[in-house]
Symmetry: C2
Subunit: 360 residues, 2 copies
């Protein structure tokens, strides 16, 4: 087992793979048929960390979360209202089964077409520990999060300040690098709870266990983020943008956002056109210092622009790359040493249909 | 005649209403049928001012313009190449007729569906002077300009530094406050030429003539900007956003852009839904300090949100406002004394069709 594979992916992910975590989902009457309330309980008190929307307008549940998260938590209720009867019913149905976790992941869905779950296992001195999470979100997705909720559980014992630090770092490298439409919702929340049920010594900043967990956490956040992007409203293409040679991380983020939020870039991918000019133009108006004449652009392995200008390439090769649902774009700025990967989508007729037919 | 109406609009606008300005349009073979090269000449040398794209990637014509604009200019050639034979043909066809101006305005069109022209006349000591302009642009329109070109002529004598200052100010209050898709092109250019043919004394900063001209210029730029927005790709609604009570002008601009570039706000207008929540959310993620609980929102005269929350209004009244092609949205932030008006559009299926079917 090398440094890079210190944990394993659990084939059937569910938050209930974490010992001490039980889940339930009920219908409390807010939606006609499907379950609309999820309850997740930790048998023992769990330390909690949270990262919330940076939108200046914050929804009531976000405000409540911010206030309560400083103390250890036992239960998590997710729905579109807070109905006492529903909570009682859910409490009676709590179960540690894999299926109960799936049902909870299903109950938190709104316009999502698929549940979003992830789970990992690792070992410390032969003893197993876990990280599992579920998420929802499909529209209004932007760097710095969006109408997206993600809930992660681990059975490690991690003091709250360290938990918060690890979560913030993982979110910055995952959820904060995805965008569907550039809109940031008023509800975004990522919570991470640590209940210590694995019976391992408390994690300390910088120790081996901490490093392994940090890696698991970043990977889990990334997988949930990718599932959200992939399930985005009207999405027909998922774009992985590898931005290389940027002067610094802030510049790289700004450039990546400009490209992935550009309606012209997004419609070009929807139309399967190798329009590197739109990518270059979006980089240009991002407001970051770089030399356009040093920019190389690749679609998958195919170079489509060199030193800011056209380069000959086979149309047929570009077409076969652009036909796929998952497309990797590599932009080599040659203006520094910072690299960053971000994820976005195309902009389709379906996006317009879904968001223009919505009634407030 | 009061202070506000010191100039009159010329019914049939054309750049050739400015004495000493002749225009011609020819087909030089770049397009199949329509004229594709416009030539505009000033009989005498004209001082020239220019405002260019802030995109870091700049097209060759922009670079050329920047270099030559410091010296007085005589001729302006606009087309999608620079074909010597075409220029010769156009030079032979130069005319001061109204029709010649129209033909030039037609020759600079790309995906535009209509020509964009404006002209004003005013008097100083009984002597007439003029300002006329033409523009093109329909996609990739954003504050700080876009694939848009605008050319303005006046027969006043204005020294170049003052001309540049007046143009920059007028552009900031017009072209830089319109957005269609948030993309900023690499070609944006607004040029203003002053040939002195009116025979009036040279304009001095702050004198009465200067004030009148500044007002004309701002109005002319605004009208051309509005024509561009209105003719935008796939546009079915033109949104006038009146943002009031902002802490300062920079904040107001940032907030206006966030609202007018939000795909969710834009699709709501396309769907004719009074979704003030999306407007509030866009304000919230703009990154500007304000108190969401003080925000009032109006559609035309109809209040739809009060102090950041819902307010009862007649659905039928909202529907009749949202049905129209031109919609005014007033956002009262109640967080300061700065007001600003900006213009945007909806986001429609046609926008996606036009921009995804384009082949680079």
């Amino acid at each position: 087992m090398n440094e890079k594979t210190t944990f394993e992916k659990i084939e059937e992910p569910s938050i209930t793979v974490v010992p001490g975590i039980r889940a339930a989902a009920v219908n409390c009457g807010l939606k006609k048929k499907k379950s609309d309330l999820a309850l997740v309980c930790s048998e023992s008190e769990a330390a909690a960390a949270g990262v919330f929307t940076r939108n200046r307008v914050q929804a009531a549940p976000v405000k409540l979360c911010r206030e309560t998260i400083g103390s250890p938590v036992r239960a998590l209720v997710v729905n579109s209202g807070k109905i006492a009867a529903g909570i009682k019913g859910a409490a009676a149905a709590l179960s540690g089964d894999i299926e109960a976790g799936h049902r909870a992941a299903c109950a938190i869905m709104t316009t999502d077409r698929a549940t979003k779950e992830v789970a990992y296992r690792s070992y410390c001195g032969g003893r197993p520990f876990h990280l599992a999470g579920m998420a929802k979100g499909s529209g209004m997705i932007c760097p710095d999060m969006a109408t997206m909720l993600a809930f992660l559980y681990t059975d490690l014992a991690i003091p709250r300040p360290l938990l918060q630090e690890l979560l913030q770092e993982a979110v910055d490298r995952s959820f904060n690098l995805i965008t569907i439409d550039g809109d940031t919702s008023t509800n975004d929340t990522v919570l991470l709870m640590a209940n210590g049920a694995a019976g391992l010594p408390e994690v300390e900043a910088g120790d081996g266990l901490c490093r392994t967990f940090a890696e698991m956490l970043e990977q889990a956040c990334f997988e949930l983020a990718y599932q959200i992007v992939s399930d985005g409203e009207g999405v027909t293409k998922v774009i992985t943008l590898e931005l290389q040679g940027a002067p610094d991380r802030a510049a790289a983020r700004t450039l990546a956002r400009a490209v992935l939020n550009s309606p012209l870039v997004k419609t070009a991918f929807y139309g399967e056109d190798a329009n590197w000019g739109r990518i270059l133009a979006a980089l240009g108006y991002a407001g970051v210092e770089f030399d356009p004449d040093r920019v190389d652009i690749y679609l998958g392995p195919l170079q489509v622009a060199s030193q800011g200008g056209a380069v000959a390439f086979r149309e047929s090769e570009a077409r076969s790359i652009l036909k796929k649902r998952e497309i990797t774009v590599r932009v080599e700025l040659n203006s520094g040493n910072c690299s960053l990967t971000a994820w976005g989508t195309d902009l389709s007729h379906d996006y317009i249909s879904i968001n223009s037919s919505y009634r407030s």
